[in-house]
């Protein structure tokens, strides 16, 4: 039997026309998968290479901080809210302390405000450097990790020299900051301040950091594989992001130039020049680029703040026992991951009556079912990584 071309074409048409009976497979990712940055579980229905109906399962790390806050005093709460987003522990403290200070109507000395601002920006750099290290790694590029972690180490050393802690500084007090750890045990006022050489050392470290940013950019941005894995992948339009409450670099990558540092009244950001980088397409590439640029802007802010830091007291006068007057206040700040807010309800006691913790990663990953709908399975990892969440910040 001879088969001519027409028959062949007919045959191939027929095979395509046959309705294949396919069955969706349920794919379970996590809770212990390296790309989930903690214990996140995704239950995805997989149709061939496409993911459908991805449902995140969270709560594996729920520590009940909102309940715990109701039985703890204000100074005790400062200690555990460091652990919400442990990659940038310091940044979690400031809005909470600011909320209590607003209710108490305490004026924080300028020097303490500057120190808070410098350390908050250092926490931002530390957090973004973790992203710069881990994200290319998840996509198969190992080298950037060494560059990023080396410079994160510089920043953590500086944080440690002031606060005594690398991840959980617990350095803020209502009314100001506590005497610096590097100052030693003396009670003399002059030695309670920032450790010797901190300001010059910071300036230096920021110069090195800016050079590393250039290195990271030349190392990753031009990489064809990285581009192919991130450009046009996981596109998130700005209005969808806002609707879900996605904030921080993820929102800015979607083209919305909104940064709470421009609208804050408890840290002196209005004294410094900095840009708010935004993305054009809202894809994984933009989310990576926005964070790289934010490291540069943070370094820029720190250098200006170090040059302009005023002298003076580290603490306002506060009573020995902190009691916060009756009232309600909401304070939010631009954390490395996005909007961190505390709704504080005080009934005049030593601890809050209710503390609602609005953490950035929680809303940021609530977008997952939307953004992962219909993507290729390998892209799940690329998109997860680009959202840069921490499970402690999701589960609280």
């Amino acid at each position: 039997m001879t088969i001519d071309h027409d028959t062949l074409r007919h045959l191939s048409d027929a095979s395509v026309a046959v309705e294949l009976e396919t069955e969706d497979m349920t794919l379970n990712i996590g809770p212990q998968h390296p790309s989930t940055h903690g214990v996140l579980r995704l239950v995805a229905k997989v149709d061939g290479e496409r993911a459908r109906d991805v449902q995140p399962a969270i709560g594996y790390m729920h520590r009940g901080y909102e309940k715990l806050a109701e039985v703890r005093t204000y100074p005790q709460i400062t200690a555990f809210i460091n652990r919400i987003d442990w990659v940038s522990g310091y940044a979690n403290e400031v809005p909470f302390i600011a909320a209590a200070e607003k209710l108490m109507e305490i004026e924080v000395p300028e020097r303490a405000q500057y120190i808070r601002l410098i350390l908050t920006e250092m926490a931002r750099i530390a957090s973004h450097m973790i992203f710069m290290a881990s994200y290319p790694l998840e996509l198969g590029a190992a080298t950037p990790l060494f560059f990023a972690l080396r410079d994160r180490e510089r920043v953590l050393d500086l944080l440690e020299s002031v606060t005594g802690g690398r991840f959980h500084p617990n350095f803020n007090r209502i009314g100001g900051v506590k005497p610096a750890a590097g100052a030693g045990p003396t009670q003399k006022k002059a030695s309670q301040d920032l450790p010797k050489g901190f300001l010059a050392g910071t300036h230096d470290a920021m110069d090195k950091l800016l050079a590393t940013c250039d290195e990271l950019e030349s190392l990753i941005a031009g990489n064809e594989i990285f581009q192919a894995r991130t450009k046009g992948i996981g596109v998130l339009p700005g209005e969808i992001a806002a609707d879900f409450g996605v904030s921080g670099p993820n929102l800015r990558a979607s083209g919305i130039a909104f940064d709470l540092r421009r609208h804050t009244d408890f840290l002196p950001y209005d004294q410094f020049e900095f840009d708010v980088p935004t993305g054009r397409n809202g894809d994984c590439w933009d989310r990576w680029w926005v964070r790289l640029e934010e490291i540069r802007q943070a370094a820029r802010i720190i250098q200006q703040a170090v040059d302009a830091i005023p002298s003076g007291a580290l603490q306002a006068k506060v009573p020995k026992i902190i009691k916060v007057p009756k009232g309600e206040v909401y304070v939010r700040a631009e954390n490395p991951k996005g909007e961190m807010g505390y709704y504080l309800v005080s009934e005049g006691g030593q601890g809050p009556y209710r503390l609602k913790i609005r953490s950035a990663s929680f809303s940021n990953i609530s977008i997952l079912p939307w953004i992962l709908e219909g993507v290729l399975v390998p892209d799940i990892i690329a998109i997860l990584g680009s959202l840069d969440f921490v499970l402690g910040d999701v589960d609280r």
Binding site: K67, V71, E107, A242, G245, R262, T264, K320, S363
Partner: protein, 202 residues
């Protein structure tokens, strides 16, 4: 910068309080507050959905920040009760913000403790989905019309609603120490208004 932290950010024409009043009247409410720079607008439970729709579609408050609740109770299992007796109720809060001037409005409504129920706003703000699930499991507040009203954080078989004030802190029930240590009163001080010793020269 020497402004007091209690001052509000004044971002444009008119004062902050005027603006909060305008938001309140736009959603048909006369009950609002702007203390400590926190804009709070009280609405009735049956106006909840309409108020948030107006906020998003007409007032430009397109960013969904959070939704949560407060359990106002006189009998508390843990922590201190309110300073003065309060009406037993749930207060539901939703924070929505604009993306231009950095303003956030907290809409508030009250619900009875028995059979607390509110229309879901997931059709207005998609981000409310997880927040409403959290409020349901933590407080026992039902959200009618929620597309997926299952537990979020807690295991399916979990009983009780942990953020209710009547819910005990279980770890403390199981193991009193070290919990008992920190419910003791703070050490007596001769003058509680005296300045802290942590920074004596401040």
């Amino acid at each position: 910068m020497t402004t007091s932290p209690s001052e509000t950010t004044d971002t444009g024409a008119g004062s902050f309080a005027d603006w909060v009043g305008e938001v309140a009247s736009a959603v048909g409410s006369e009950d609002w507050s702007a203390d400590h720079g926190t804009a709070k607008v009280m609405v009735a439970a049956d106006a909840w959905h309409a108020a948030l729709s107006t906020a998003k579609l007409e007032l430009g408050l397109v960013f969904f920040s959070y939704l949560s609740a407060i359990d106002w109770a006189n009998d508390v299992a843990v922590g201190d009760p309110p300073a003065e007796p309060v009406d037993e109720r749930y207060e539901v809060l939703a924070g929505v913000a604009d993306l231009a001037e950095g303003r956030i409005v907290h809409f508030s409504t009250t619900l009875p403790k028995d059979g607390a129920s509110l229309p879901s706003i997931t059709d207005v703000y998609a981000g409310a989905n997880w927040h409403e699930r959290e409020a349901t499991e933590m407080f026992d507040i039902a959200f009618e019309g929620h597309p997926n009203p299952v537990k979020l954080y807690l295991p399916d078989a979990f009983e009780g609603h942990p953020l209710q004030k009547t819910y005990p802190l279980l770890s403390r029930e199981v193991k009193p120490w070290p919990g008992t240590v920190d419910v003791e009163p703070m050490p007596e001080v001769a003058d509680p208004e005296a300045p802290s010793t942590e920074n004596p020269e401040a």
